[in-house]
Homo-oligomer: 449 residues x 2
């Protein structure tokens, strides 16, 4: 194959040791999702473009269209078999909503599902932003109404995952859309969405420019100041309630929002102290959120942006008769690894799953070496046989270069196993020898920097 | 979301219980690959179309092109950012070859890798053939030359996997391209590829039509008969060698092929007796195979086609200076599940990972119930809390519908756990109770038919 080989910007790939670190992170995510009773589904990579365009505002700029190359060249260039135009999904929420409606009657509701898949967006690539990336989502969806306690539950699952990762710290920032909505209405600002959109830029453009943008949009200086005062409230406990009350605004929607956010924070304080922060500036750009919203910052890397976001939606999915409200949260796995691997130096403890290399005195010994390997594998020990009957020094180097910790020798005095890190070599019985648990499978380590 | 919802032909999706069966199969595959020391990689879903077109003959009819929808509408409809035209990969071999060349110098050779990913082909969907499907590949690749023992090793890994699946039986059919090549040359047929192509249709069109097609292509009746005699040889042991010799043809390439196939079969007889069949009609359509080739039939479902195929290639990847020979085999995971799920009735033992449902006497008890769930999860038991404080009968039905085996009750006399299958309810300590190992995680079962 002679075509020039080059990486594609926005489509990152890992070398084997870093891929082992990625698998380690994915395994933690899956195990934790399953411990919390979320069931896996996978949806197809493509959806009709009209469905993808139906959500997410300017999503059309990001969508990758998919057409059969042969059809593209011979038939009309648009249209998929003359029926649908297809595109790659840009998140896992839109496909999940479609899946729920498509399988209504065959799913037990409320339905707790997780989904770990690649998604694609044709955006300009930059640090932590890719054109192909992996997301790990949980959602709980029900028909008609959804109990509010799920809004407290989903961020706890994420907190449990993040605590198992070698992160310097994290903050799941929680807000409830009803708080700014009720507050804005309470001070006489009718354009809730417009106001939210401006306040959402606070981290990017700072308070002065937010203030003038609000005034430009028709708010009084007094109203703008109060919007900013609300957005600046954050607390790790329930004190945010009194601080909002102290601003002297009252509106039934505001009261409802404060109660809902208090309920979420109370559960967080009980079961994951320190993980949640009530942060009243968090808005989330997407229109479909209607209650609690979440974003997640890594401590010391706040400018990197949110690595896990989500919220409550009242009507993402509907089949006309039934509406399916839900709450969900999405871990940006590739974003997280974009921080963990290059910035924090995460990698695998070795570049292969192999724990034992069976050395080969001569090529004629291969059948015996393969039987040894088979016995070790049957007891759960990842094992391979040396590629050739080179000098033992070269066979040991084969193991060393890959981080394989043990080399197995059949000697005249019986089998022996060498820990090539310490050089220690001892007699070993193929039917009973076990490596220490931490050597059995590759783990993760931080590269010295 | 009001767009009409409909399945897309060729893009199958599973309901949760069947997805659990799929995960079970994928977990067996991954665990076995890793026990044999294969390291995971993932490659991006897209490759430049020119690279995809470079391999596989009529592959261009199958390729899905990928373009940015916005670019598609405003700019030229071909070209990706004015640089590459991209397509979804249609297998994992072509991307792997590109990955090896791209990362030459950063990979330890020989490199043993596995790759489990979705691939896409725009073919007409039919039973066991999809437009989006999952493949699970292992390959061993080296620079310059590749030791032949790997050709015996890779089918053994597959045999180990298939023995763990609830299959009625399977046969990995092995051949070596050099056998028909040397044989055809030995009887004076120079067009090896053309002859192979005709003989490859034997299962489809039968011996009479193969015979006349060979004669039409220029073979004598005698030559055609000998080609058919070769193709009809199969054996589970080494007797195929004598049967070929009895045909009275000699050619150095034939001798080489018989020795190579004998070596593979000898290892199979030693380490996986009954799994391999030397089958001299197996040719594999793809041009790049140069030695051993594999196909796999499920016993009783031979007409379903091969569920696992591969072979040895001498020069799939090259960067001009270095050539990378390899040998690989690919499990058609979706094809296999297309047999296991609808034909054999495979499904998950329940529709959720949850093992324990913590019942809720009243909504006010939710915090306590969540603490109970947290304690159980910390000991590795997948647990969820009841969605609402309904009557216990309704809470038990919630568990029953999902196949959750245990319901946990906090009573005045202490905690109790009910096995809802037997109805047995006993006292239990949240800090020490464990379900039987087989109940901890969902397994697989066969639907009664």
């Amino acid at each position: 194959m002679s075509t020039k080989v080059a990486p594609l910007s926005g489509f990152p790939e890992f070398l084997p040791a870093d891929r082992i670190a990625e698998q380690h992170v994915l395994d933690i995510i899956r195990r934790t999702f399953e411990l919390h009773g979320f069931a896996s589904i996978e949806t197809r990579a493509v959806e009709p473009v009209e469905r993808l365009l139906g959500k997410g505002g300017d999503a059309d700029k990001e969508i990758y269209a998919v057409t059969r190359l042969a059809a593209d060249r011979s038939e009309a260039s648009s249209g998929q078999d003359g029926t649908h135009e297809l595109g790659l999904h840009f998140d896992l929420t839109v496909p999940f909503a479609r899946y729920v409606v498509e399988n209504a009657g065959r799913l037990q509701l409320p339905f707790r599902r997780y989904q770990i898949q690649k998604v694609w967006r044709g955006e300009r690539p930059q640090e932590g932003r890719y054109r192909e990336f992996t997301q790990a989502d949980i959602d709980v969806i029900d028909a008609g109404t959804l109990a509010p306690h799920y809004e407290a539950e989903v961020p706890l699952v994420v907190a449990e995952i993040f605590r198992q990762l070698p992160l310097p710290g994290f903050r799941i920032q929680v807000n409830n859309r009803k708080i700014p909505e009720g507050f804005y209405r309470g001070i006489g600002l009718a354009d809730v969405a417009g106001t939210l959109r401006i306040v959402d830029k606070l981290d990017k453009i700072g308070p002065d420019r937010v203030r003038s943008a609000l005034v430009e949009a028709g708010a009084s200086a007094e109203q703008a100041a109060r919007c900013l005062a609300l957005a600046e409230i954050r607390s790790e406990d329930l004190s945010f309630v009194d601080r909002v009350r102290a601003l002297g605004v009252s509106h039934p929607t505001l009261t409802e929002g404060l109660q809902a956010l208090s309920a979420v924070m109370r559960v967080g304080l009980d079961l994951a102290p320190g993980a949640l922060v009530a942060d009243l500036r968090v808005a989330r750009g997407l229109d479909y959120y209607t209650g609690t919203v979440y974003e997640t910052q890594i401590v010391g890397h706040e400018g990197y942006g949110s690595v896990c976001s989500g919220g409550r939606y009242d009507a993402l999915a509907s089949d006309g008769r039934t509406t399916y409200p839900g709450v969900g949260i999405s871990i940006g796995v590739s974003r997280l690894l974009g921080l963990l691997v290059p910035r924090l130096g995460l990698t695998g403890s070795r570049s292969t799953p192999t724990c034992v290399l069976v050395a080969l005195p001569a090529e004629a010994d291969r059948a015996a070496a393969m039987r040894t390997a088979t016995t070790l594998r049957a007891r759960g020990i990842p094992t391979e046989v040396a590629p050739s009957a080179d000098k033992f020094g070269k066979q040991i180097r084969y193991a060393d270069r890959r981080g394989i910790p043990y080399v197995w020798f059949a000697t005249a005095e019986g089998d022996q196993v060498k820990d090539i890190r310490s050089g220690e070599q001892t007699g070993a019985d193929v039917a009973s020898w076990l490596p220490p648990q931490e050597d059995l499978h590759p783990g993760i380590r931080l590269r010295p920097r």
